[in-house]
Symmetry: C2
Subunit: 508 residues, 2 copies
């Protein structure tokens, strides 16, 4: 599609006047500004203005001038957004989530301040004024209606709030976003600030409570940029044996809970984190015994799409659709029927503790490591280096009916045990973690004291190569101090230290 | 008041027939049972049956028989409940919160399994079936109406749920509880289990959504025991200089936030944890510039009562009233006017994330220690020994408009720094902690990266004796690994280890 076709996507007369090049639009962004950018897990991020902005930054740096911005998004974007801006050394601070390799290096080199925030918290914290003023919002949309309302893209994230908070708005209209998305979104009425807030009236995953359109005063929109470019659309690896084993155990556990009368036969709304293991669990449900499933999640990926297409899942709510190229084709081919089965909402609502606790979601999230007492590290490599961020895992795990955290039991060909004496960074505490699953087995921690948990986790979840080391640590810990949560304090993080020094957690 | 007067408190004819001695009632409790007991921060716990039960346990143990129970409460009780049962070696497992010295020793000796649960989570986890069946509920009330409805005591906690969950119920009717409490409580309609839940329709701290009475099928009540005994009624220490300094800083911070337009002039609903520092903050508000305050808290103590009595606070919601003897007198003297200003609710509602997030509470909780990145330890001494439990601090901190954690900067005459390189146990992660306050100063962590936080916390909150040690650690950490969250992994917990070995965190 050419820019000429694309022009038809801008139906508001006044905004047609503001169509300009990405380079012209990027002129509205100055050094030191806070910029709210669209994008959630590689969906719906702006694809042209960031590159033009990065060029301005590099030119300024070449002249010896400072040029960096505060960058607030929904979650991760892609190389054409986080990547180009990071390579231009243009991100002074970043929140709430990223997964870009260059930016990650800068964060871990101390060059960029990264603020790792629960995804459900960011919009309200901006609204409360905790991040200062938002100077510009840069939002990708699918189209603009004659009255100026905006058809959202495959990712909503924080867009609704950024359009409200920003003093000036730049819109990228991307004709590669399917125009038939119109009607799939549900933008809730203003949640507002306390003390005058009302309940969020969602009592089922597919409840609609708002309008399918984003709204923004056309006078505030200073630039409209036409693009025609695909989302990130990363390919998924086929589920490997470990992922399949993890999935099989979770599905067995579901069957057990249904049999015990603790869950309905169609389970409860499923939340699934991103990545291959999470996708494998959903793939496993394809062949599982459960029908009439529902989803109340953050990012809807291939696995959940296929559950809907096969009829196993009735409906799902998410804030973004992040598909592989093949899944995107399946989505586009079926978009007319999917429009009544998939609802896209702002992340403040998909991740809201009020809604996820009420619905009783089953939260399934990947982790980097857990410890023998059930604390979980979702963000840091060896305690000091940021990987991506906490994302929505805390929003869901804390408020879930059941919270699962999953990982293969070892990483780096066995050099790293993902079950350790003490996690090197705590993102989810023992109070919030109910079930741990590795390819080795499952530990049901509900109603268990720390010492009872330790025995279960070591026996059921740890890799056989590390089980004796963990037992040995635990036995010595029982002689070292208090027996509520036994630890050898000066060895609790020694496995990580050993890895840093020798490249292996095992003693050679 | 004698048992004869007390008899008038039981107006239901059938239940009068079930009046019996504590010893007789205790016979309904057998070895291995799960017992749901009333009591929240020393208010509303049963005062006669636990002693009789403890005697049965001791007799059984003398005969060489096992006799222990699983004990679930609202929160802490008192010596006549947790204390006697612990001394009888009769508590096999305990949840969700305790503060009894004997029980604490048993937990830390590995003799009792303690499960430290967010207070808002316990009722629903019992309802979900995660703790197995509840055999008996043992609940203190103020009186029984002719139709069998129960007038709650000064503490509601989990009583509503325990009455529903238990197979048999024992009621203690305590005539020392003021009969004029009738009408002060608000027992919400059943919250139920997912997926069929409705919003909790509280939009202001003083909204009433239910009935003033607890309900229980009289047929399920197997025993009624008459008592006439006071609640724990611990005395408060007068605020010391440290507490006053902490309070003054919080109040200054409130003024600043109001000035910045981020909070209304009457602030937002206040939540205040238990203890002397929390009480000092409330005492400080007595002389502060804020009017028309409201409270949405867990335990209402002397400080908040006096704010209401002076007219500074319009109304407050809590699950228990835990007063000093003097404050109890003031409460009883004013109970007729206080009945419209204080609402007592089940802890599932006072601590519910849905409500505290909607109202935007200002959460103020004490801590044991925090680290230079803003992680908070609320529960463990030197990483391994349980103090009391997380209580509701996590329910409120995670969902608050503003979350404060407070502590004096040092403990044990300076031998312990309450600001450490890494906390020895994590209850509240960096993602959930906004403002730290010690008598030295305040660190506003909002929108700050870990390294920015470290500088603020060391400079503003640490005691001058420990500031150079913390700076030295931080500087070495910057050379040791990744720079997102710098740590020297094998020294991160060395301060605690040093204290365990030498009784002092300082290097001698």
């Amino acid at each position: 599609m050419t820019a000429a076709n694309n022009y038809e996507r801008v139906q508001h007369a006044g905004l047609r006047e503001k169509i300009m090049s990405a380079e012209q639009a990027a002129e509205f962004i100055q050094n030191g500004m806070n910029v709210g950018i669209s994008g959630f897990t590689g969906a719906g991020y702006p694809k042209a203005v960031p590159t033009a902005l990065a060029k301005r930054m590099e030119e300024a740096h070449a002249r010896g001038e400072e040029f960096g911005i505060g960058m607030l998004t929904g979650a991760s974007t892609a190389d054409e957004c986080d990547g180009v801006l990071a390579r231009a050394q243009g991100i002074k601070f970043r929140t709430p989530f990223q997964s870009d390799p260059t930016l990650r290096k800068q964060i871990n080199a101390g060059a960029t301040n990264y603020i790792d925030v629960h995804l459900s918290h960011l919009e309200q914290q901006v609204r409360y004024g905790f991040f200062g003023e938002m100077d510009v919002a840069l939002i990708e949309v699918t189209g603009i209606l004659p009255d100026g309302r905006l058809i959202p893209s495959l990712g909503i994230g924080t867009n609704n709030q950024w359009l409200k908070s920003a003093k000036k708005v730049i819109v990228e209209v991307n004709s590669r976003q399917n125009i038939l998305l119109e009607g799939m979104h549900d933008i809730h009425p203003d949640i507002g600030v306390p003390p005058n807030r009302k309940p969020i009236p969602i009592t089922a995953p597919n409840d609609r409570i708002g309008s399918p359109y984003l709204e923004c005063d056309p006078d505030k929109i200073v630039a409209v940029v036409l693009t025609d470019l695909p989302d990130r659309n990363s390919k998924f690896a086929d589920p490997d044996d470990n992922s399949k084993r993890i999935a099989a155990q979770i599905i067995d556990f579901f069957s057990h809970e249904v049999k015990m009368g603790r869950m309905p036969k169609n389970l409860l709304p499923l939340q699934s984190g991103v990545g291959n293991v999470a996708n494998a669990v959903l793939a496993g449900l394809q062949d599982g015994p459960f029908e009439n499933l529902t989803g109340y999640t953050e990012v809807l990926q291939d696995g959940m799409l296929d559950l809907i297409l096969s009829g196993k899942m009735l409906s799902a709510s998410a804030t973004a659709l992040s598909f592989s190229p093949d899944a995107l084709d399946r989505f586009n081919a079926n978009i007319e029927t999917l429009r009544s089965k998939i609802i896209l909402r702002p992340q403040e609502v998909t991740n809201h503790p009020e809604v996820s606790r009420r619905l009783g979601v089953i939260a399934m999230n990947a982790m980097i490591e857990c410890d023998i007492y059930g604390n979980v590290n979702s963000t840091h490599i060896m305690g000091t280096n940021m990987m991506n961020g906490i994302g929505g895992s805390g929003d869901f795990a804390r408020n879930a009916f059941l919270s699962f955290f999953v990982t293969p039991s070892v990483a780096k060909d066995g050099a790293i045990s993902c079950i350790v004496p003490m996690v090197s960074h705590h993102d989810h505490t023992e109070h919030d973690v109910m079930v741990l699953v590795t390819e080795q087995g499952l530990a049901d921690l509900r109603g268990k004291s720390p010492r009872q948990r330790a025995k279960l986790i070591i026996e059921n979840c740890a890799h056989p190569d590390y089980r004796p080391m963990l037992k040995e640590y635990y036995e010595r810990a029982e002689k070292a101090g208090g027996l509520h949560t036994p630890h050898v304090l000066n060895e609790a993080l020694s496995w990580h230290q050993r890895f840093v020094e020798t490249g292996d957690m095992r003693i050679k």
